[in-house]
Subunit: 502 residues, 2 copies
Amino acid sequence: MRSRILPVLVFFVFCINPVTADDAPSGETIAKQGIKGGTAPCSGCHGASGEGNAAANFPRLAGLNAQYLAAQINAYKDGERSSPIMKPVADGLSDAEVEAVASYYSGLSAPSAATPIQGADLELGKQLAELGSWQDRELPACNQCHGPQGKGVGAVFPAIDAQPAGYVVEQLKAWRVGQRKTDLDGLMKSVATKLNDKESGAVASYYALLGSDPDKAAKLKASDPASPPEGFASPARSEIPDGDFGASISRGEQIFLGTDTHAVSAPYVGNHQQCADCHLDAGRLADSSPMWAAWVSYPAYRKKNEKVNTFIERIQGCFTYSMNAQGSKRGQVPAADSEPIVDLTSYFYWLATSAPTGDHKMSGRGYPAVTATASGFDPERGRKVYDAHCAVCHGPEGNGTRAHGEMVFPPLWGDGAYNWGAGMHRIDTATAFIQHNMPLGQPNLLSDQESWDVAAFVNSHPRPQDPRYDGNFKETVKRFHSGKYDYYGKIKLPDGKRLGEP
Amino acid sequence: MRSRILPVLVFFVFCINPVTADDAPSGETIAKQGIKGGTAPCSGCHGASGEGNAAANFPRLAGLNAQYLAAQINAYKDGERSSPIMKPVADGLSDAEVEAVASYYSGLSAPSAATPIQGADLELGKQLAELGSWQDRELPACNQCHGPQGKGVGAVFPAIDAQPAGYVVEQLKAWRVGQRKTDLDGLMKSVATKLNDKESGAVASYYALLGSDPDKAAKLKASDPASPPEGFASPARSEIPDGDFGASISRGEQIFLGTDTHAVSAPYVGNHQQCADCHLDAGRLADSSPMWAAWVSYPAYRKKNEKVNTFIERIQGCFTYSMNAQGSKRGQVPAADSEPIVDLTSYFYWLATSAPTGDHKMSGRGYPAVTATASGFDPERGRKVYDAHCAVCHGPEGNGTRAHGEMVFPPLWGDGAYNWGAGMHRIDTATAFIQHNMPLGQPNLLSDQESWDVAAFVNSHPRPQDPRYDGNFKETVKRFHSGKYDYYGKIKLPDGKRLGEP
């Protein structure tokens, strides 16, 4: 414990001279004692341990990302966040003090739980937190941005677990009415607008209680979305049958969501991609290559390998290219009767329940093609789109974002990305995916032109080699990469080699 | 050429003494010259080379099975076949003469073609000849009994190719009205009754012309049955799509029909079974484990191997047990991405077109169970049923019937049969199959009791070892054959071993 005399001195210094980082009071001091004459101690409202105050809807600060906390204080200063209480507090802090107090709270342990809304539907909350409600309203799961169990991702997506539920509900309202508006691409406004009051309370309460019992999440049975989607609908998760087959379906879903970490599939994944990265809503979402539409379309002849492919071979193809199996621990795709293939097959089959066998024209199948624009596509134009809309999640260098041991946003190029044989390396395919699915939960936010350009930008970068490459680069380009939507072998790199050239 | 004086001598001898085999005129003599004073020469009506006479609807005799021909002459004698022309001719022939003339004609080469009905629909004829019309009226393909290309099977099922079409049409009518009635189980009466005049002419003309151009059959495009079946209907064969996928579907059908001879599947078949033996109408027939109902039921958990099986594993299971792959050239089942598996998969998927994914309750699925009877089941009672209804096709020793290089009726026990792991070795499963599907085209001809008994009889015989047998017979019995519908390990054989014991 530091002496109480320090803040007095610091305050004195502050009065006669702008404080410097070296002279600044410690974060702990600001938190516990404030800055005499100017700033109240944070702990008065946010609790002695930074746990928040449920009765007053004051948030917990303990354990939140320091950069995030600092940005919030600055947002109060700048008027980007609005609070009559926080405005004068924030104004009273120098940059160094903001940094110090943010750093202090960031270093505190988060409480295990916070106060929920009474009577909240925790099952509904779990559903929204983990799965969102894609099909009826393009609502991403909270965890998709806020990370596993809502524990936050980087400086942009704060932890929302163990946060007093009343505070979260209040914030959702603030996003909705535009009182809070620092969200990228209006994502939080979009999300908050899609949630009704019951749902806001449910999801906030679910997160508030999440840490109180590590098994709670597992025990809760997810509810199903209230409003049925238009078009085809897979069964609700609550309809997964009991018994061994149901267990296989559930494992398949887990593999689909966490392909590069699940024990049975990870040995075959040579990058940091999940099935669910390209097939949103766990493979359920229309216009996101949903698995129910794929299921009823196989077996089929594929020009890609010039033969009829069973559905199992098609899944193995995803491992070969999108998961870059050649760079995996096993160095090969899982066998047809292996656990990951069987469980994924069970899951896809079940998602397709009642879909008509052989129907190649189900509405929502694949990624609907985006019409070519007069200006074509251009990586340089795409770079600006990427920086504005994509970099926050996928990283400025396209290597994705990892949090709490899991890859939250997938790498788009580099060693962790899909390889040069994956469908997504094609600019037209990536354009179609992006236009209808990116940014998360904001389909069609980008113009067609922006989608084309950003797809070109993403696919103008190095990525793992095409597994079909057999030592002859020129021949590989000719055989597999002659199309106009393909940069492999076409862009000249600074070292004189061409993109994709080993 | 033999002297013309011989018949005169023979006739003389005949008049004073019953002719003996040694003294009998040659078949050729009878055929060409008759028996003076009693019997007109056969060639007068049946043509100089036994080719028949289309204008008069007289059948070809050349190349027909000798036993069959002799039986027909005797049938005219006995009044079982009725013809004012043939009756006196037949009466004039001794047993030895019957044998001689039958043998003579049997040794002549069949003509390559005969006269069709003018304007007959040859495509419709091909359809009925090769596929029958199972779904709407349980009409087996003619080839199923009369053998590949209608060239006849043994003494019971005569060749019907290159036969004047008018004669065949007349015979179909004779079966229908009961004028001809020596058919086993009334099968020909049943078949003839199901055919309308147009169809009779079509199928008779198809066979008449079949040999005129070896490629004709291949060139003809099969028509589709006129009346749509009740319940689920697979697409018509004419709807098989063009291109590589369609080719895969067609190959799959061929493999299904000729599993033990098709180049890609034969190396994995260790007995003489075809997929189509247990799944009639090329896998289309309701209550005959149709493949369309199976397709939408997999993947599924199976108690048999205590795990979730994909459809491909299920097909491999058929190779393991019903096809006894362990005794095949390759000694193992085909791989998941092998030609036979991929093509069979394409075929099954296509048969299931429009069937709802996951529907486990499609009408016609599997073999509907037959209720247990008060008398249980008994192999000795079953032996009589077998001899009366089954032996003619499957052989008195259950080893099936082969003709023209193809297995026409499958072995039911012995080395060529399904092994002790196949579902069909269970008495209840075999009962269900038999009751609804046997004799061919005559479902429910047998009583429940007869079906139980004959299934018990069939499955009380030795067959290839259960592939799950690992050297410990007692353990194998306990683990896999403890059910009450299973004779493996239960029947004591004369050599002191038990059924199935190696």
